[in-house]
């Protein structure tokens, strides 16, 4: 998998590049719009990450030009502006997703993977499974090592999200936003409380604890190493 990152801010570019390489992607980097457009049109990428404010050629024009040249590489737009209009404009110009700075790397990674999945046409699975834990999306049955587990709807969607992102860290904000469709910063630890409930049902009776807390970052569904 090869990803093009067009970003002029050195700090941001360096952490995106390092993070993507750590996750096994090969990454190319362009520091301005013109160079980025050249690279996008010359080579074939599985996804591109494009900053809106770029020297020489701005991100939106770049994407527009790519689409004109029939380049359908999925693009994630990075922007410091979070106004709804900017988001709409970005998507109209041919962007596939829109992420506002500052963002967490795990969020970017999850979105890149979702875009690549969508683009390569992987069909939606009817069930998810990881390390003996299985979740049927149609019947909404959850089993661990063949023991049925009863979950509340909110717990079910939380587990589904964790399993879809198995072995990837998801932040509290990502859970609030993607699982419950709430975009706010709680002062009480509602995510933690919910994770606790889920742990009680999934991990308590088993020796291998799958749901792990990564301090400061979030949670991950992963076999302990």
């Amino acid at each position: 998998m090869r990803i093009l990152v067009i970003e002029d801010d050195k700090n941001i570019a360096s952490f995106i590049l390092a993070g993507l390489r750590d996750n096994g992607y090969s990454v190319d980097h362009a520091e301005d719009g013109e160079n980025g457009l050249d690279m996008a049109l010359t080579f074939s990428y599985d996804a591109a990450v494009v900053d809106i404010m770029l020297p020489k050629l701005d991100g939106l024009t770049l994407i527009e030009e790519m689409r004109k040249q029939k380049d359908n590489t999925p693009v994630i737009i990075l922007s410091a502006k979070r106004a709804v209009d900017d988001r709409i404009r970005g998507l109209q110009k041919g962007g596939d997703d829109y992420l506002t700075k500052p963002f967490s790397f795990s969020e970017l990674l999850a979105r890149i993977q979702a875009l690549i999945r969508r683009n390569t046409g992987v069909s939606e699975p009817s069930s998810l499974s990881y390390a003996g834990l299985s979740l049927n999306l149609l019947t909404r049955e959850v089993k661990r090592d063949h023991t049925p587990i009863v979950l509340q709807p909110l717990e079910f969607s939380l587990l589904e999200y964790l399993m879809r992102n198995a072995e990837r860290v998801v932040s509290k904000n990502m859970i609030m936003e993607h699982v419950w469709d709430y975009n706010f910063d709680p002062q009480t630890n509602i995510v933690e409380a919910r994770i606790c409930r889920l742990r009680d049902k999934i991990d308590n009776e088993f020796d291998i604890k799958l749901i792990q807390t990564i301090r400061g970052v979030g949670y991950v569904l992963k076999k302990p190493s």
């Binding site: 979070r82 106004a83 709804v84 209009d85 500052p102 967490s104 909110l154 932040s171 509290k172 904000n173 419950w180 469709d181 709430y182 975009n183 706010f184 910063d185 709680p186 002062q187 009480t188 630890n189 509602i190 409380a193 919910r194 606790c196 409930r197 990564i214 301090r215 400061g216 970052v217």
Partner: protein, 473 residues
């Protein structure tokens, strides 16, 4: 150039008003004079013409009764009686030859007009003309009339009466025009000065406020006029602006404070880890702490932006009809585990549906923020009661908790940004939660009040008017 100098120049409003006033006033007076003049002169002319015609009649009857010689005699007597410089007579044949005339030595310009003589041979109507005499101050009115089969009488008379009137008129006119313009200017100046006095006062105050003296207000004189209204509006505006400036200053201080503490935390943790960190675990802990603190800052900034956007109506185009009951139900569900953990009961009492025009994300945030806040300040074993219902033309939401309540002195301020009841700012939170709730309620044209109840805890009431929004769909 200073404002004062600019006002000294001729283009002040007072001067312009004065000129307009004096100009209009004088114009209409002059128009009146003119109409009066025209009416008077035409009246004089009519009288004159009548007099001339009666002369013609007299001569005509003398000619037909007593013959030409008697006419000649009459004419001579008449002109001498009137004065030979006042009146003259000429008896002409149809061909234009002078048969006889009075003494015309003093009438140098009275030769009979051939055009008129020719006209007289066709028509019997008398013809009038007016002559200006270069040597005399008076105009002459002349009539030509046929008084016999081949006799034309030409009679002229100096218009002494009219000239007398014009003379008087001219002097009266000259004098009164000057007087009128003077009075009009004076009255205009006085009136505009008086009218603009209030404006001057406002300008003076504005200059002081512009120089940074935000406590100044325009002195009201209770006259109830438009200027007074302007002054009141102006004072209200200054009041609002100075409150805003004060709030912004406070907010700046608060932002600085709220940024300083997480940054200090990050910096301190990094320093300690660098100095004495031994294991990877120490560094992992530092990285985790750094992310937590950064998230706090980002969340704070995002919430601030969200409040500004809400106030600016950025999300207004996304308003649609939605069910407030289901928003409340799902929010209660969201907070269930934490409420259970702390043995707090959340009781929700809403009808099956509660339709409202609004933006879902905003209303979700509003409800979540309120419940979150109540949970934060509730004691173990407490209760949060939420009711929602339609009352007349409004939807009323009531959030009642059994928490620690809010001290009376804080109540008026709790919707202000960054306002925190605990001055040490030691409890978690940004002090933005209720400001956001307030902004969202107002974006939906609703109203929010908060008060303590006797049993302890607060009652928060939100009212959304239904009519206004629903009219728009």
């Amino acid at each position: 150039m200073s404002l004062k100098n600019r006002l000294e120049i001729k283009s002040t409003l007072a001067l312009r008003l004065t000129i307009w006033y004096a100009g209009f006033f004088s114009f209409f007076i002059l128009l009146l004079f003119f109409i009066f003049y025209v009416a008077m002169t035409s009246a004089f002319l009519k009288t004159m013409d009548k007099a001339l015609l009666s002369e013609v009649h007299e001569c005509s009857s003398v000619l037909s009764l007593n013959g030409m010689e008697a006419l000649k005699e009459t004419v001579r007597i008449e002109s001498e009686a009137e004065g030979i410089d006042t009146m003259f007579y000429k008896i002409l044949s149809l061909g234009g030859e002078i048969i006889d005339s009075s003494d015309t030595a003093l009438w140098p310009q009275t030769e009979s007009k051939k055009r008129i003589i020719r006209q007289m041979s066709i028509q019997t109507q008398p013809v009038f003309e007016t002559l200006l005499d270069r040597h005399s101050p008076y105009k002459t009115r002349i009539v030509y009339a046929r008084i016999g089969p081949d006799t034309i009488l030409q009679v002229g008379k100096k218009m002494r009466d009219e000239a007398g009137f014009v003379d008087i008129f001219k002097s009266v006119f000259g004098f009164s025009t000057g007087l009128i313009i003077f009075i009009a200017s004076f009255v205009g100046w006085f009136m505009s000065k008086r009218a603009l006095e209030g404006v001057r006062e406002i300008t003076k105050t504005t200059r002081l406020i512009g120089a940074g003296n935000f406590e100044k207000r325009v002195q009201l004189k209770n006259r109830g006029d438009e200027i007074e209204e302007l002054a009141i509006t102006f004072n209200e505006m200054v009041e609002r602006i100075s409150t805003l400036i004060k709030e912004m200053r406070e907010m700046g201080d608060n932002i600085a404070h709220d940024l300083k503490s997480p940054v200090t935390g990050i910096r301190g943790m990094a320093e300690i880890t660098l100095n004495s960190g031994q294991s990877v675990d120490d560094y992992r802990k530092m990285a985790g702490k750094t992310i937590e603190e950064c998230d706090r800052i980002v969340n704070m900034v995002n919430t601030m932006l969200y409040i500004s956007e809400t106030e600016a109506g950025v999300y207004e185009h996304a308003y649609k009809e939605l069910d407030l009951s289901s928003v409340l139900k799902s929010a209660v569900l969201l907070f269930e585990p934490i409420a259970e953990d702390r043995n707090i009961e959340i009781a929700l009492d809403v009808p099956e549906t509660l339709m409202i025009i609004g933006e879902k994300q905003m209303l979700q945030r509003m409800v979540a923020n309120i419940i979150d806040n109540s949970l934060k300040y509730s004691f173990e074993g407490g209760q949060i009661a939420i009711t929602g219902q339609k009352m007349g033309d409004a939807i009323v939401l009531i959030f009642k908790d059994t928490g620690m309540g809010i001290a009376e002195e804080h109540l008026p301020h709790i919707f202000k940004r960054f306002y925190r009841c605990d001055k040490s700012r030691s409890l978690p939170g940004t002090g933005l939660g209720l400001s956001l709730v307030y902004a969202i309620v107002h974006a939906h044209e609703g109203d929010i009040t908060v008060k303590n109840h006797q049993a302890g805890g607060i009652i928060l009431t939100i009212t959304f008017p239904l009519k206004k929004r629903h009219r728009n769909i």
